[in-house]
Structure formats: C-alpha cells, structure tokens
C-alpha cells in the first residue's frame, strides 16, 4: 500500500520545512507574542484591580465629602443661630444701655430742672421778700409818720430782740 509507506522525498522536505519554520518562529515569532500577551494580561489585570480600588476610593471619598458637607451645613446652621442670638443680644444690650443713658440724661435734666426751680424759687423769694420789704417799708413809712407810733414800733422791735436773745 503506497499510502502507508512514507515517501523519502516528503520526509526530507518535511524535516527541512519544519526546521526552518520552527527556527524562524522561535527567533521572530513566539517568544515576542507570548511574552507580550502575558505582560498585557498582567497589565489588564492590574488595570482592572486599580480601577476597582479607584472606584472604591472614590466611593469612600464621596462618602467623606458628603459627611463633611453635612457637617459644614450643620455648622453653618449653628453659626447662623449663634449669630442670630448674638444679634438679638446686642440689640437688647444696646437698648438697655440706651435706656440707661436716657434715664441718666433725664435724671440729669430733672436735677438741673430742680436746681433751676430752686434757684428760681430762691430768686423769687428774694424778690418777693425784697418786694415785701419794699412794700412793708412803704407801709411802715406811711404808718410811722407820727412820733408815737415810731416809738411804739422801736419798742416792740427791741422787745422782740430781747426775747430772742
């Protein structure tokens, strides 16, 4: 059977062809491809890992930022409340101090008015007394036109002075 007897020529050429093919691919083919494929696979694995961790980190960062935001918002609200409180306090204080000041001013005014009044009263009294003295002098002068009456008045006055002393 010719099919089952290996032909020398074909064996020879197969040896040559396969050897050449193998040497060429050994030199310029397989090592490059296999190494490159391996390193690319590693790179992809690393890339996926990196992406996953990056995603996780981002998630964490987002959570953190959300927390910070919430905190900031709470702080802001606190601050606003505080400011509001301070504001009302300041206003209250201002009002109080204004009241005190006003009171003082009013008191001072009252004191000065009193003084004025007293002075006026005093003046008025002095004037009234001088008027009265004048009137009395006039009246007395009129009455003391006679001697007798004069002597009587002097005596009365002397008596008075005596009783006083």
């Amino acid at each position: 059977m010719e099919l089952f007897t290996p032909d020398f020529g074909l064996i020879f050429w197969m040896f040559v062809a396969f050897a050449v093919l193998f040497l060429i691919l050994y030199k310029w083919g397989w090592p490059v491809i296999l190494k490159s494929m391996e390193s690319r696979a590693d790179l992809i694995d690393k890339g996926v890992e990196y992406a996953q961790s990056a995603k996780e980190q981002m998630e964490k960062a987002r959570e953190q930022s959300e927390k910070y935001m919430a905190e900031a918002r709470a702080k802001q609200a606190d601050m606003l409340r505080e400011a509001d409180k301070i504001k009302t306090q300041i206003i209250e204080e201002a009002r109080k101090s204004a009241q005190v000041e006003a009171q003082k001013v009013m008191d001072a005014a009252r004191v000065s008015i009193e003084q004025e009044r007293k002075e006026a009263q005093l003046q008025f009294r002095n004037e009234v007394s001088s008027f009265a003295l004048d009137i009395a002098a006039k009246v007395v002068r009129k009455q003391l036109s006679d001697e007798k009456a004069q002597a009587h008045l002097v005596n009365t006055l002397l008596d008075e002075m005596e009783t006083k002393n």
Partner: protein
Amino acid sequence: MIKKHLLALIALVVTLAYPSCAFASASESDGGESKINPKEIIFEHLGDAYGWEVPFNHHKRIPLPVILIGKDGFHCFMSSKVEHGKTYTDGGAMFKIAGKDSEYKGKIVEILPDGTEYRPWDISITKNVCALFIAVILVIWSVVAVARWHKTMNYKAPRKMVGALEALIDFIYNGVIKPTLGAKAMKFAPYLLTVFFLILYLNLLGLIVVFPGGANVTGNIAVTLVLSIFTFLITNLMGNKHYWKEILWPDVPLWLKFPLPIMPVIELFGIFTKPAALTVRLFANMLGGHMIVIVLTLLIFIFAAMGPVVTGATTVVSMAFSIFMLIIDVLVSFIQAYVFTMLSTLFISFGQEEHHEHEHEKTVTQ
C-alpha cells in the same frame, strides 16, 4: 418563501444536469472508455503527485520541479516533461513515471541501459511538498505579523486577524501548554505552537478543493511521522532523570523488574508506541476525512450508469452528505491539530515531571 423554493429548484436542476455533462465529457476525454475506476481516482487524490491538477481539466497540470539524485548525480526538470507516460532524457539518464504494473507505481524511475527500473533518491517538489511550503509560508507570515503587531502596537486591543490568531494562541498556550507543563511552558511553547499552527493550516488548506489547497498533506504518513519524530526527540532528549528512572527502574514490585526486566521492556516499548500513536492518529483521521468526501462525490459517477433518475437522486444525496462531511472536516481539522498538540504536550510533560506522582497516561483513541 418563493425565492427560497426557486433557489432550491435551480440547485436541483443544476445538480441533476451537472453529472451527466461531466460524465459525458469525462468519457469523451477518456477516449470513449465509459467505465471509471473509483479506486484509482480515490488513491490519486489521496496520494502525492508530481504535478498539481487544475479544475475542469484532466490533462493539464501545474508543473512542479522534479529533483532527483540518480546514479550519475543531480537531475532537475519540470514535471511536465514526464507527464502522461512520457520519457525524459536528461544528460545520459532516462526518466519516466513508473506504470501501473511496476514496483514503483506512480513514482519517477530511471530506466537503466539494460531496461530495468531504478528508483533514484527523489526529493522532488511534489504536490504535497508544494502544499507544505505554502502552509509554512502562511504560518510564518501570520505569526510574524502578530509578533510585529505586538512590537509596534503593544498593549492595544488586538483586532481582526491578530485578534483571531491570538485567540488560537491563547487557547493553546493557556489552555493546553501552561496547565500541563507549568513553569516549563515557555521552554516548549514555541515547538508546540508551531506544530499546532502548521497542522491546522495544512488541514484547512487540504479542504480547499482548488490550487493552493486540496493536497492531502496531513493525511500523508511521512508528514505525521516527521512531526511525531520531533515530539519523540524532544520528549526523550529533554527528559530528566526521573523520567528515565521511571522507564528503567519503575516503582513496581521487584519481581517485575528483576531478574526478568518485564516492566522496563514494556516502558521502553511505550517510548516508541507514543509517537507511533501520534503518527497514525493524525494520518488516519485526515486521510479518512478526505476519503469520505471523495467517495461520496464519486458515488454520483458510479451511479451515473444507472440512468438519469438514479443519478439525479444520488447527486442530491451525495452533495448534501459531502457538504456535511466537509463542514465536519473543518471541525476535525481543528480538533486533530489540537489533539496532536495536546498529546505532544502530554508526552513532553512526562519527561519533565519532577516529584513522584503516579499519573497514568491517558490513552486517547479516536
């Protein structure tokens, strides 16, 4: 729907008409001889030839160079010189293709002055050798293209042809070589991948009916023999101490190896049966695939003698079956390349095992 039916009808008419025409022309060209010899045709297609047949022409062949080392040295001429039983005289030597009743049927012989036939050393570029060269060039071209792509476009996503080839490379390297050989995968991968791609390309080219394909290279025992000799050499030359200890002094009861070395003899025999199995498996599978398709096609011509109705019916059935078989053969082409690579990897790994691990050889039969 109508279109579909119409297409089927046209196909039927064509297939019905074709064999009678072909048969008519064939019988005409054979000088009125109406009987066809299926065995001859089958073996002609399965075997090697000095020229490469072209479709629709029985006489013209693509001439290929014939290289002979005869009694008086080198002879080199085109195969067209010895076509159709012609005798060619080159220098002082006469050559012709031996006839049917010769011992060297179908091979080129030198006619010695006394009339006897002498078979010279024949390293002609025959059809199979030419197909082998075409496959080798295709493998080199595609693999070097992938390597060049890797050098220039490193870390880009492989697409198109590079992607397809990388899928195959990855399938063999990470699917077969690495799990079996482990850390030594890189050492043997170039050989195993080369074997895989060469067999795959040869198998697939063999399925193409016209010129660049159609040769039954992997279905030729010489080719598979050389491939398994390479695997045999690598297994045994690269085998470590443990491998040889397992063969010469295996871990079995003493009486099995001394005084009568029963197990060592069996193991030594096993060294040679492994490559033999490799040789025959690939050879028989590819030969079988080609043979079935040819036989199915030939059925048409065999039944042609029984009238047009039988011929037509046979044509439809044969065509359907042979197309089905060709599709199966595409799968077989891949599977056989894969199996050869896988078994080679396995055999090589036997020579590389370090620690003692009883792993029985898997006998894969197909």
